[in-house]
């Protein structure tokens, strides 16, 4: 029982404790190691049903002492004034509210992990490891890389941060456009990994929850940054629809066919509040438009109402002025098919760079659907086969197979 309490505490507060330690000692490795040692100490000390009233505060104060011990052992002369030696806190020790005891340094830590000086492929992983407390194994699974590869990336990134002297500071406002951009694109990559898996079972369910927490922190700490608010809204809209993303057979349900009654209303309301706050800042941006596309869908009350395709298309047109990339154009083409017909949509899809999309499943899936609707059955089947050959997630595979079956029945 003490064990699971410890796991819970480590999971719930690990990010804050590690962030506070990292900010204090300016050393990510030291912060991580000290926290791990504090957990080890807790596993022993909390054994006799005397878990502390405030586990996070307990872990923080023990970790802090361990960090100082480690610094002394390393023989590093430090300008930090060490606390006078104290016995470990007892369970009875009434802890002050941990919110006051542990300074919230997560934002600083996010900016460090997402610093442009850190290799792009390590930023998201480092953020998830340190701020969200995911294990290397969990992150490796989410990013589809071997665990040793990921571990090495993390080591390299931490070494770079330490040796290059990356500042443990929230950057000044003059650097925000670039730095917030780096943070948001890192989190977008991290979230895309969670969202890809429609089932959201196992690891991904936790991971998506971490993204909700992390974006909430970001929105709370940077309330005047509309793109941060919009990204927090976007994650909520997307998570709100998670219960409707699979049908009873475990097959993916496309957004336009999802039953709005299954969507989580509280998350949608939260998202709407965030997006309204973002719009109130009167500084439009690409993430606000993306969140607005989600909002258009989530405004649907039931399947009897028409799908908001014209609005979605107009929003994609606006998004193109911010982000004219092939993925946006591909998503836009889906809306074009509904508003202007599949022939025009196919013309736009075929105009995209098919070489860049050769191994991108959604490209072939969209083409297959458009070809099938235009009665070009043979080509549609080939495109479905191409999409299926690219190893889609199980729910998507079932959906593609179903669509392929329908196309084969009416060639």
């Amino acid at each position: 029982m003490a064990r699971s309490l410890l796991d819970q505490a480590a999971r719930a507060h690990g990010g804050r404790v590690i962030a506070a330690l990292a900010a204090k000692f300016r050393d990510l490795d030291l912060a991580e190691e000290a926290f791990a040692e504090a957990c080890l100490a807790a596993a022993q000390a909390w054994g006799q049903n005397d878990a502390p009233r405030d586990p996070a505060a307990w872990l923080y104060s023990v970790a802090q002492r361990r960090a100082l011990d480690m610094l002394r052992r390393r023989g590093v002369r430090t300008r930090l004034v060490p606390d006078p030696p104290q016995p470990p806190p007892s369970a009875e020790e009434a802890m002050v509210d941990d919110a006051r005891l542990i300074p919230d340094e997560r934002l600083r830590l996010i900016f460090v992990c997402c610093h442009p000086a850190v290799a792009p492929d390590a930023r998201a992983a480092l953020t998830l490891r340190l701020v969200c407390g995911l294990t290397t194994q969990e992150i490796a699974r989410a990013f589809l890389v071997a665990e040793p590869t990921l571990a090495q990336r993390l080591v390299r990134a931490k070494r770079k941060i330490a040796e290059a002297g990356v500042a443990f500071e929230v950057p000044g406002p003059e650097a925000w456009p670039e730095r917030i951009g780096a943070v948001l694109s890192t989190l977008e990559i991290a979230y895309a990994k969670a969202h890809e898996d429609a089932a959201g079972a196992g690891q991904h369910a936790d991971y998506a929850k971490e993204m909700l927490d992390l974006t909430a922190v970001l929105a709370e700490l940077l309330p005047d940054e509309p793109e941060c608010l919009a990204f927090a809204a976007l994650v909520r809209y997307a998570e709100a629809r998670r219960p409707a993303r699979l049908d009873d057979d475990g097959t993916m349900t496309p957004l336009s066919e999802q039953d709005p009654a299954l969507w989580r209303r509280p998350l949608i309301l939260e998202a709407e509040r965030l997006l309204r706050a973002a719009a109130g800042r009167r500084r439009p941006g690409p993430r606000q438009l993306q969140a607005a596309i989600h909002a258009a869908w989530c405004a649907r009350a039931s399947l009897d109402e028409p799908a908001p395709w014209p609005t979605v298309l107009a929003l994609y047109d606006a998004l193109l002025t911010w982000r004219d990339d092939a993925v946006v154009r591909l998503n836009r083409a889906v809306a074009v098919a509904e508003v202007a017909g599949p022939a025009q949509a196919l013309a736009e899809v075929d105009w995209l760079d098919s070489v860049a999309f050769r191994d991108f499943g959604p490209f072939h899936a969209v083409r297959a659907d458009l070809l099938a609707r235009l009665g070009r059955g043979v080509e549609a089947l080939a495109a479905y086969d191409r999409a299926l050959a690219l190893d889609p997630a199980p729910a998507e595979r079932l959906w593609l197979e179903r669509r392929r079956g329908q196309a084969a029945a009416f060639p």
């Binding site: 590093v76 610093h115 000086a117 040796e163 290059a164 002297g165 990356v166 500042a167 443990f168 500071e169 950057p171 650097a175």
Partner: protein
């Protein structure tokens, strides 16, 4: 911490008819260095003559060979460096952004090995 700001530029940017580009950039460098000195952050640095004056000693397998020219042929070449004091990487990067260049180019920011640890 100390950082080296290594300046990589296309030397062709300086090859105009009356050497005006060169004079302008030198004046900008003097102002840049003066600002560092004023803040007490300049620890060293130098501008280098162009790579047509470079000779490279290359040691391989215990043998030394000499060749005319820079270590590597590339469009942008090391043209000079500053050694500065900065609290952290971000401060050093801010100086690197302000560093005068004749045209396009890169400034590589590298922490200097600290002799005390």
């Amino acid at each position: 911490m100390q950082y080296a700001l290594l300046i990589y530029e296309d030397e062709a940017a300086y090859r105009d008819e009356n050497g005006r580009a060169w004079q302008e950039v030198i004046a900008q460098h003097q102002a840049f260095a003066a600002e560092l000195v004023e803040k007490g952050l300049l620890r060293g640095g130098a501008g280098l003559k162009t790579t047509n004056t470079a000779t490279t000693v290359r040691r391989a397998g215990g043998q030394c060979g000499l060749h005319d020219g820079p270590f590597a042929e590339s469009k942008e070449q090391l043209g000079g460096f500053y050694l500065i004091e900065a609290a952290d990487l971000d401060e050093a990067l801010a100086w690197a952004r302000k560093l005068p260049l004749a045209g396009d180019g890169s400034v590589e920011v590298r922490p200097v090995i600290d002799g005390t640890t």
